[in-house]
Amino acid sequence: MSDSIPSVSIINGRLVDPANQVDDMLDLHISQGHILATGDKPAGFEPDKVIDASGKIVCPGLIDLSVRLREPGLESKGTIATETRAAAHAGITTLITLPDTSPVTDSPAVMELIRRRAKQSGHARVLCLGALTKNLDGKELSEMAALQNAGCVAVTNAGRPLGNTLIERRALEYASTFGIKVFIKPEDRHLRNKGCVNEGIISSRLGLPGYPEAAETVAVARDVALAEATGAYIHFQCISAAKSVNQINRACHDGIQLSVDVAAHQLHLTEMDADDFNTGCHVDPPLRTLRDRDALREAVASGSIQAICSDHQPHEPDAKDHPFPDSATGISALETLLPLTLKLVDEKVLDLPTAIARLTIGPATIANLPFGRLDNGRSADVCVFDPDAFWQLEADKMISQGKNSPFVNWEFHGKVTQTLFEGRITYDSDA
């Protein structure tokens, strides 16, 4: 099969490969689905196709640590075929899915189904987070060793509550037996109560149930203590509060193994955007204050937060058409992951190599993946984008089945022109 992959040279572009500290005008040569060389064309190599990347950035294909593709079980919101196609348009080549599918991804059989569907569509690599507990009920441990053998990246309870701290302790111990990382979206469900917006001046004014910062920080404190006690490796997903990052930083300083990611929307929106009952901004965890947003931005710049994810959650239009507290949470976010991150470069929060690192080698390191870098012999997952292209996000032009984005009508700077996944061109704006 691999013989049929055409060889490609991407020439005249600015190659940014943070894992190898490369940021230079270098050509990239691809053969048999792998990186053959950077820089000068190897003697005797004649590419089947040449992509002229003049004025463009060439970087590793993006890795997204938190997505819902909705299949199996919620195909009215999205399918592996539709969402991986959206990923290819957005320069994303590796998607890590959460296990809250229907049925839950708590067995090798469901993982196999997802793997096959992804292979059929061929737009991107789809890797699974396995369920931490059976059916995500928070009561009994899942068969983590079997999930690991079937290729799960890590395990998580996908934001669903664990019955109690004893179950959490045992789940962490069991996972660490096999060296499996545990991904956690920290939340104390009692403190959260029915909260749907940040507990703050907006919740006070609109009379919406508040979701206090402490619902996150209390959970982080608990999880950090259990990580220390059990020696398990926890990765915190989709952090929203500045104080959570401070706690995690301190724990890392004390030698506890932890990592953190943040959803791109948390770096741009605040609780004020949910004003006027805008259900597009109903997200979980909620948008916090401007102070939190700025501190999260700083943490991304400093490396205290190692990855930016999309937290992609496509919905059918009806899901958002309810009064705010009753509307579904989440954003269809694959297509804004790179644009929102590049906006941070425009706003001088990040330099370009750091921005790309948070979308490539950062998540690759967290998930122990050999991707997100362009050294010789690696899988040729490549994203080429024009950093100067101006465009506007329009709902009806979104590729994802979910059009639920609060960024509709936003203007962005930077657009993907080609995506290569395992050496194949999965998106080409010129085609």
Partner: protein, 330 residues
Amino acid sequence: MRHHNHQLTEDGKLKHFLSIEGLNKNLLTEILDLAESFTSLADQGRSVKKVPLLRGKTITNLFFENSTRTRTTFELAAKRLSADVLNLNISTSATSKGESLLDTLRNLEAMHCDMFVVRHASSGAAHFIASHCAPHISVVNAGDGSHSHPTQAMLDMLTIRQHKEDFTPLRVAIVGDILHSRVARSQILALNTLGVSEVRVIAPRTLLPYDARSMGVHVFTDLHEGIRDVDVIIMLRLQKERMTGALLPSEHEYFNLYGLTEDKLHLAKPDVIVMHPGPINRGVEMDSAVADGEHSVILEQVSNGIAIRMAVMSMCLGSRQESQRKEETA
């Protein structure tokens, strides 16, 4: 255009009545003046208290949450304006069959209504309905979650004005469950818009919203301090389910600390008025002696409720008739 107030027509007339927020003093005063004229209509002792302002209009009371008193006053107000009234208690019908709010709305629109009076347990429900229903329909908020209950606030303003004439020198204290109260949120906005000199809220911290000061009030946790020298005391209703558990230890302790008694009333101005949106939990929020005493204006609030709702309904539908006429003559 996020800050366009969609309660108003382009020329600043009331189209929906969803919240006090974004309405100016002139508009609130117009509502009060019109309501005042309706109260005198009732006072003349005429046997037929109807006016034909809304003849031929259909008003639907859409109550997703149980309420007898509020629904009855809306119904009475609509009938006194000669409108046809349809009462729907949705909590017991459609939504329990899994129909979405939007589906329910589409069905009702097909019945050619002119106005929805909406009560719903979720904050923002009235805004949601107003932004999704057909453009010829007006929406009046009869209470959404903990967000807003603007007609209740306006009937309280009318009652205050009848006793105090001028809002500007007044100190007003609101006592009780501010956190969950849509009434308090609307009252605070209305009082500040009408220009009172001070709004105070008085409650234990479990019943205060986050950073309550940001709502434009002074915050007190001690009733004695809070009602000192005030002109108006508004007691809020404490929901039964909130009296025990983690918000409050007991009715008994709440009454001891925050219940209004004749003794405590002496701390306020001698001509203080005492209000309550009803129904009162006697012996929890206040003594019977206060509820029925000379400072109490609680029953006036109820009759003002009909006048305010008549005013709001006729203004909302009137603004539409006007724009319709303009279109026809144009």
